[in-house]
Amino acid sequence: MRIKNARGAIALTAGASLALVLSACAPPMDEEPGGTDTGTDTGTTEPTGDVAEGCEDYAVYGDLSGKTVTVYTSIVEVEQVDQEESYDKFEECTGAKIEYEGSREFEAQLLVRVESGSAPDIAYLPQPGLLNTIVNDFPDAIVPASAGTEANVDQFFSPSWKEYGTVNDTFYAAPLGANMKSFVWYNPSIFTEKGYAVPTTWDEMLALTDQIAADYPDSKPWCAGIESGDATGWPATDWIEDVVLRASGPEVYDQWVAHEIPFNDPAIKSAFDVADDILRDEARVNGGFGNVATIAITPWTDGGLPILPAGDDDPQCFLHRAANFYQNNWPEGTNVAEDGDVFAFYLPSIDGESSPVLGGGEFVAAFRDAPEVAAFQEFLSSDTWANEKARVTEGGGWVTANNGLDLNNLATDFDKLAAGVLGDPNSVIRFDASDLMPAAVGAGSFWREMTAWFAEGKDTQAVLDAIEASWP
């Protein structure tokens, strides 16, 4: 009897798994992602919108039929869909095949692949620091940018962007997409209702903060969250960087990043104090979550959500400093517009005149010396790609620092705002400092100490000294 039961159980499992295999096999391995099957009649000039007519723009890349370029990146679905779609035209016109692979473990896995000799042809590096590591540790693996790529970057990007893709005077990686981090999210309808004006100087912003605190005694003006798994603390570093850029200026910022001045320099300390004034004032934070210490345990993805009121209640929070990509975190159906549910304004400068911008972005590095790889790298740095990408990103949420981009191709007003600030010649753009600092600081002590700054209320000077002591 017992044995019979056991046999029955095995049969059951075997049957169940067989059924699963069969049902899973039922739909045939369907078509290639990206819809390359539409490209059977390559070279025909069908009008596909007002950006690119036919293949004229792609003629410079020549005929690459039968060639394959593998791309490895940290950009996964949903953004991956638009990313791949923006290569369709290139594939159709040149005959090359782009094999796209996205992974959230990109930063660790890329190094593993490079070290074991299976580097992808093209990788999108999210940090210049990673490029630095690769060039210094694996100089034979990475290929300097092709001449065409460099020409494109000279033409379409500001010199500072080119510099982030340069290591030891050799230009390796061209910028791809960009982030614009100096934004404060707010609720436009409340602003209209109460007659609040979007602040244009830091003092106006503090005045607005006090005004809100007086008008809504049950809420707090600001909210923030810096919890992000094993990267907890990074949103706080962005906050600090934005303030350093404003309080101490871009020159001090550059020295700070390069460690020409120590991390606990008085100039940095004074910037921390400016941030302290908002972020560690119980009267000003943490709307919707509780006291100052909750900033450390609130997931950064949720940090700004109290701006959206639940039902007819007053919002719990009114201002949230976060990058343009925070717009993906608003729940589905949220109208991101100047007259919608949420929108963002540029985090004002302290002097009210300069316009410093904290940015970020991906960089396209090549790992194989071949014409098709060089052609694809060149394509990604061109205005053709920037406009094509803007055109296929129908939902918005993508910008670039490529000034060949026609802003009218961007899908949303918010993207136009972000791209406008990034492309503005008066903007003083600086790259995210923690991405440029050595990993022990930029992805280590800076994150940890910022978390302690909120969670334990650690003294600012002690935080600065601890980070300085950890600098390798």
Binding site: I10, S17, A24, E77, E105, S116, S228
Partner: protein, 306 residues
């Protein structure tokens, strides 16, 4: 002949076991013990239940408050299948594709190490050759090598052999990582079988092959099944090995890799993870529940003997 020996030696211990079992049963049927067991079981299950409930809640509710708010039935909480829908069909490649990949990864990764380990275990247990003990200790000692240190050298080797982008690196790696423990467990279990059985078969003229298949195999079923479950669960749930050796390409990436990507580039879709977790859990749960009898019996039998 073969059946006459075991009952003689087993009879007294069997009686002992029975009295111990009755004693244990008496002690366990104490209402307080039952209560404690029920409380522990409930505490143990709460996180899983919470995850299950979360997987049916709409995104807005998940981000706004905890799953226990569903219990406020007077507020009419909404439940939805939208998370499952998005997890299964939301991606460019249907999740069914990754499901097949996981099966294709898992089955050979279970069969290969067990087949090899059975042969090795037989040799270690019943064939007397020079250096047997040292070799066995060496194999056993391989268990302490952390798989993380082998990743880059192995990947380099696979690339030189031109295996990257296929299932072979994953199959081979899983087999390698499983073999030391498989050999150890199966060896101990084989050693446990009374030598007289094997000797009797040998006297009757059976060779190694016949002894292996006719005498030992039927007795080894619980041990094989228990190790198979063990290995099955480990391979099914593995992320590190497949991420390193298969990568994220849709043609080889298993379910775990896809589910890890599900949260999106910046982690904003984390609410999908609850649904994804339950989808990937179905098969292991079926396998475990239907074979758990073997699991407990086989693990105990193999491991208590030195």
């Amino acid at each position: 002949m073969t059946t006459s020996t075991p009952p003689v030696t087993a009879a007294p211990t069997k009686a002992g076991v029975q009295t111990r079992a009755t004693k244990l049963r008496k002690r366990l049927s104490n209402p307080w013990a039952s209560l404690a067991a029920v409380v522990i079981a409930i505490l143990w299950t709460i996180p899983t239940v919470g995850l299950l409930i979360t997987s049916f809640r709409p995104e807005v509710d998940i981000t706004r408050n905890g799953w226990w708010n569903v219990l406020k039935f007077w507020e009419r909480p909404t439940l939805t299948l939208a998370n499952y829908d998005q997890a299964l069909f939301g991606g460019q490649t249907s999740l069914a594709n990754y499901f097949v990949n996981t099966l294709v990864v898992t089955l050979p990764s279970v069969v290969i190490p067990i087949s090899l380990a059975l042969l090795a275990a037989y040799a270690f247990a019943w064939i007397d050759f020079k250096g047997r003990d040292i070799l066995f200790v060496a194999v056993f000692a391989l268990q302490i090598v952390p798989i993380q240190v082998t990743l880059i050298p192995l990947l380099t080797q696979y690339n030189q052999w031109g295996l990257s982008g296929t299932f072979w690196p994953v199959w081979l790696s899983h087999s390698m990582f499983a073999l030391p423990l498989a050999i150890f467990l199966l060896h101990n279990f084989m050693k446990d079988i009374p030598p007289s059985l094997v000797e009797a078969a040998r006297v009757d003229g059976a060779g190694h092959v016949k002894i292996f298949f006719r005498v030992l195999m039927p007795l080894l079923v619980p041990a094989i099944a228990s190790f198979a479950i063990f290995q099955f669960l480990w391979v099914w749930n593995d992320l590190l090995v497949s991420l390193t050796f298969a990568g994220g390409r849709p043609n080889v990436a298993p379910l775990t890799v896809r589910i890890a990507e599900m949260v999106g580039t910046r982690g904003s879709d984390w609410f999908l993870l609850s649904a994804g977790a339950f989808i990937s859990m179905i098969v292991p749960v079926i396998v475990f529940l239907s074979l758990q009898r073997y699991f407990v019996r086989g693990m105990m039998a193999g491991s208590v003997k030195g």
